[in-house]
Subunit: 785 residues, 2 copies
């Protein structure tokens, strides 16, 4: 990818362009957005909806269960990657509005319960973007689209409806405004899906409950196979007519016919290709409201969840959603010139969409055994993109989100492990279902990091049992061999080098937590395992490489190789060889000293490489040399100079990364946001520090990008970060004080922040090469355990 520096400096117009929405209906769309100046008002929801970001522009509460938004994808199996969120900013037509979305994922699913309002003739198929009016799909313009946290609005040109969306935790509310005297009609399409293909729908049901209410379910074989989602849809006006269809063509055995000879007579349909066309007459005020509740458990539970939003006051729901976001985002009060302030709050916003709630009002949820369970004393969350989010997203949330929310995450992980047929913690889980996507057992560092930072409200013993069970489950990812050999052998398991170093880090976090719990045996075992990264380090080449069972490194070796079947997971030796964040001292030692590490890092960033080298891997994006900011294995790398005594070089790299990899535009994320990890990296880096090794309780200081940030910590204390003389030119840290005293060390301890206080950077145009040069000033300069 090309250098994006130019974008950073130019104030972009995306947000400005969408501040007004032309109005069709008699009563005008409310012009007021989130109150000006608030955190929510600063968010540009569209960042990442283009390019490789894959973010979700729809409406949701923080960590909300229902996440309604526009889908613009066409129905095609091969759209897994680019349309992972269902919507791409480049598209010019909308298929409809569904209720479940990932924000920033690299693989896809969801898009459940698609609704599409219209006034004209009923079309049962969506049609094609390139053929307007060929179906119920409608063109739209970004000029007539608007979104802010908890709210999304768009005018559907072809369908002649203004659509607005907002949401509570479990209930989406739609407001449709039709032309004066135009009939209100709605398509409900249970065929529609993100990552759609012919065999995805295993079964579905759609049922009329009364004149204003439908319920149903859908079971799909997608990223998560056998996923069941139940829903209830309630309209503000009674249906004046309806058609329930099963559009399956070839069914070998169709069974006997239920009552209802025509689509208009039916009160229930079952099958694999259900949809409904619903009519509501001509609303006197031109408006139809819809509430949609989802449930992992049952149609009746979805009905129960509907009660979460008893009224029909769209403005009140929108205001409540906005208030919820303002409260969540006000953990940081930030001063910075635009677009930095917008980009920061957007990053914070994107960090609070997942892991999302996935539990009914009565406490029931569906676990990885696909069975229904009852949460006792916690709220079950799912959508854990753990390979990504253990790095910075969860550390951001352990710092800024309420303890109860973090405890809910940990309790959800523990509960999932108890329900798991394999008896292990989630790997990549959503809607309670395991996908087995990516590598590692990275629920482990999430729990350990929370525990080390004093998050309580879960059973630490159960947690540790779950962690060791996951680390010792032989059939998973070559662990059987890893435990025997001290590394994952490439002749038995693919991507063996990546697995070995990531396992070693996860092991270290188990050791940290066990040590803190006083479980010395466990700690000793896992501190030993944490050194396993050494077993795949090739001193000859200076890279992490995969060994075979025999002990030999696999040949031939090309450090830029990253394809499937290589030694690495979505990466190359250039990207993976610096991944022992718990023991950078060990890395330095193996490389032969500080200078050797710094030189290697320079080689990473300054390499001139052919674009084709990584072009075959869609997840490896955001390249600076071999550094791929668009994917997670690189995320800590710029911070490593500090371990070699040269934090000023980190400062240089960060300025470049921030300028080239992020912008206030739809394509403003250089890679998948990955459920908030890319954004959490941005938030930490903007603040001036980064959690290189979750579980260490240390944050490596980079450099700040905000003039001032006040963190309103969950404890009620405040931690302020100020950057004096910050400017485009003053990109180096001259000196740092913590609570008025000079800070010699180049890292913060978690306690430094949670105690409250003030961190002041003095920025300057030239590097201060002395600060942090001393070994004692560096983070974990020894193997400090």
């Amino acid at each position: 990818m090309t250098n994006r520096f130019a974008r950073y400096a130019i104030p972009l117009s995306t947000l400005a362009a969408i501040t007004s929405l032309a109005l069709l209906a008699a009563s005008a769309l409310p012009a007021h957005a989130a109150a000006p100046g608030t955190a929510a008002a600063a968010v540009n929801v569209f960042i990442g909806t283009g390019g490789d970001g894959h973010t979700f522009p729809g409406a949701s509460r923080p960590f909300g269960m229902v996440q309604p938004g526009p889908d613009s994808q066409v129905r095609h199996f091969r759209q897994s990657y680019p349309w992972a969120a269902g919507y791409r900013h480049e598209d010019n037509s909308i298929l409809g509005f569904s209720h479940t979305h990932f924000s920033g994922s690299g693989h896809s699913d969801l898009g459940d319960v698609l609704l599409m309002p219209y006034s004209g003739a009923t079309k049962l198929e969506p049609g094609y973007p390139e053929r307007p009016h060929s179906g119920y799909r409608s063109r739209f313009s970004h000029d007539e689209e608007k979104a802010e946290p908890g709210y999304y609005a768009v005018r559907l040109k072809d369908n002649e409806v203004d659509v607005e969306l907002t949401a509570s935790d479990r209930v989406a509310m739609h407001r449709y405004r039709f032309h004066k005297n135009a009939p209100a009609k709605v398509i409900l399409d249970l065929r529609s899906s993100i990552y759609d293909y012919a065999g995805k729908n295993l079964w579905s049901r759609l049922r009329v409950r009364d004149a204003t209410t439908l319920t149903g379910m859908r079971e799909t074989r997608g990223w998560a196979p056998g996923r069941q989602l139940y829903f209830a849809v309630r309209f503000s006006r009674p249906m004046s007519a309806r058609q329930l269809h099963n559009r399956e063509e070839a069914i070998e055995y169709r069974g006997f016919t239920p009552p209802g000879k025509t689509p208009a007579d039916k009160v229930v349909v079952e099958g694999k290709a259900l949809m409904a066309a619903l009519e509501f007459g001509v609303p006197t005020d031109g408006t139809l409201l819809v509430k949609v509740a989802i449930s992992p458990v049952s149609e009746d539970n979805a009905m129960g969840n509907l009660d979460e939003m008893p009224g029909w006051d769209f403005e009140a729901e929108r205001a409540a959603a906005s208030a919820a976001w303002n409260e969540a985002l006000s953990v940081a009060q930030v001063q910075a010139p635009e677009p930095m302030r917008t980009m920061f709050y957007t990053a914070l916003y994107h960090s609070m969409l997942a892991p999302s709630l996935f539990m009914d009002r009565d406490g029931s949820y569906r676990g990885p055994d696909n069975a229904v369970h009852q949460a006792k004393g916690f709220r079950y969350h799912s959508t854990f993109s753990l390979w990504d989010t253990y790095r910075a997203l969860h550390p951001l949330l352990t710092l800024l989100a309420p303890e109860r929310r973090n405890a809910d995450f940990v309790n959800s992980l523990i509960a999932s492990r108890e329900h798991s047929p394999h008896g292990i913690l989630p790997v990549w889980q959503f809607h309670g279902q395991e996908t087995w996507c990516m590598i590692g057992y990275h629920a482990v560092p999430v729990i350990a990091d929370a525990y080390m930072k004093g998050i309580r409200g879960f059973d630490a013993n159960k947690a540790l049992t779950a962690m060791t069970a996951s680390a010792e489950y032989g059939p998973y990812g070559g662990l059987e061999h890893y435990m025997k050999l001290g590394y994952v052998p490439i002749d038995r398991e693919p991507e063996a080098a990546s697995k070995t170093v990531e396992y070693a880090f996860d092991d270290w976090t188990i050791a940290r937590m066990a040590e803190k719990m006083g479980k010395k045996d466990v700690a000793a075992t896992y501190y030993k395992r944490a050194q396993n990264y050494r077993n795949v380090f090739d001193r000859e080449t200076g890279f992490i490489r995969a060994r075979k069972s025999s002990g030999e490194f696999r040949t031939p070796f090309d450090p830029a190789q990253s394809n499937f079947g290589s030694d690495y997971t979505e990466g190359s030796a250039w990207q993976y060889s610096w991944y022992m964040p718990h023991d950078n001292a060990g890395l330095i030692s193996m490389l032969g000293g500080d200078a050797a590490l710094a030189a290697k890092l320079d080689q990473v960033f300054d390499a001139k490489i052919d674009e084709k080298v990584y072009a075959h891997m869609e997840d490896i994006s955001g390249l600076i040399g071999h550094y791929a900011h668009g994917n997670e294995p690189s995320h800590h790398v710029a911070y490593l100079y500090g371990f070699a005594g040269a934090p000023w070089r980190t400062q240089e790299r960060l300025a470049n990364i921030m300028a080239t990899q992020y912008s206030n535009r739809p394509d403003g994320l250089s890679g998948n946001d990955d459920l908030g990890q890319m954004s959490a990296w941005f938030a930490f880096t903007a603040l001036g520090f980064y959690p290189v090794a979750p579980g260490s309780n240390e944050y490596v200081i980079g450099r700040p990008f905000l003039d001032k940030a006040v963190l309103n910590l969950p404890s009620g204390k405040r931690f302020t970060v100020r950057a004096e003389q910050l400017s485009e030119a003053n990109r180096y840290v001259g000196g740092v004080t913590l609570n008025g005293k000079p800070l010699a060390r180049t890292f913060l301890r978690h306690d430094d922040i949670t105690s409250g206080g003030e961190l002041v950077f003095t920025m300057q145009a030239s590097p201060n090469k002395d600060w942090g040069k001393e070994r004692s000033a560096r983070p974990y300069t020894q193997t400090n355990y």
Copy 2:
């Protein structure tokens, strides 16, 4: 079909032939069967397993939830009808042993959780009957097969295993005996199904819980679409090896790989074509026991149901099952020469397999909304073949089964109606799921008959509401038009003549119950509706015919026409024109008098018809002229002579029907047993009376076929029926006394029986044409309401 008279007189050898089973294993199979002389010992479980009977030869408790038995069908979509019970006596190989079966149905489904033991090489596919050893299927011989109530045993020749089955309510127990020193192995095949076709399995899961336990589920699109069944399988020995397979070939998106690279590593598989090959080493005693629990709700509930059978004592379980049957069957103590005694007890046995329990130990079950509910104060039963069973099976059970059992049936129907998306009572329901098979709303007469006979333990108001809701649900079966026109119009709804007359009868039972409840308005409305049968009676031809909306009868008219698209349901005008059992006086009046009815009935029985006339309808079997004893519309017809004052002619017809339509052989039922209806007809007729109009509390007297029968009524009272001078020659009733007094009337009242007492027939060789000739002696000789 040909005359079967010859069979009746010849003592058949089926039961005798199967009394011993050769033994392979070191410890012998127990030789003792059900204790000799007991009711259970008198049952020939194989009656109906050949021919058109479709009965189930496996092991079950009375109305048991799990009904394990042998499946001999090959996997083929088109085997719906002949292999409806999974097993046919004509087959010479067994596919395996599954856990859910219908007994006597005309359509098919079930066959869940197939197990097959073997010792030799593992074969993952079942193979073909005509190619022994081509798969896990095994040949067997009826000489090495044995069954009695609650027990089934067979030697698998090719697999070298002796298999025995028994069951508690929710748990099947298998005992496998292998050759000395032979390994014990078991196939578990979730692909296998009765009525199998490629798309039937929507989804399934198989999971290893521990070394002896597997759980799983299967969701199918069969007769009932979207049916979910969960199960738990526990072995008496730990698995020494296992392979879990998904044998699907083409999967567009297969997802990421769960842990377990090989079938032997996996602890869980999900997909559409699952099976497992399990090994258990070499048992020292040559024996492996297996317990299989099923649940409509969840795998965990199936595990909970396993606790119903905590031990591993096969003999004790078999004895308990036998005792349960003896208790259930001892409602009648019968004296009769063989094979009549065997045939009677077999009929009673076949009358107690359904409606079967379908509720977990914790009271939860799955209703027609496919959602989980909790039974409060009753036990949920399902498998209601109502079009068949309202006629004689339910009346037999209201007479002989405990009040609580009957209340459970009614409560299950009411609960199902409350869960129904349509708000109506079940039509043909199994495993809680509606199939919409056949016509009418015949849950209505089941409830009304129970209520009229004093069965309590359910909410009569709720019941009546459910009944009228079902009778007034416009979209069902042309009811919208029926309510407007007084008949179902053939231009709007197929089989309109049959529907009209059956609706009218059902309506009458609503009126009866409403009247008894003091709801005069409802009674008046439905007594009026009950006369609707008149609207389809064509006085010109003397037949029931379908009218069009315009009021004209549809032409051309052929009273022998019975194909799909005709005016009738599995029948012709010759069969359906006498169906107003609640108002035979009305029928006589329309036909023009007693003699006219008797003449019509003679025409029915004595017609010489070409075999081809009904050959296209597989359900129309057991022909005597136009009379088709193999299907239900004929079941009351022989009893109608009595309404015309000629009960002696009924007596003649019954002798012929009993002799030609039933025998003590596998093909000893001339039509589908229909979940006990054919058998209940036999039981009533053998006793000497029949419930022509359920809800009337009257039984029309036919003639007895037993020397003596003592009915041990649920109240504790006894009612004895004796037939003096009964012989093959003495087929006519000379006279009848009730409690010593001559009985002039040709019907019994329900109270006559439930009060206890003695009914004595004096049989003779020539008809007594005077008895019952008087109008006052006849059942409902007037429109008596």
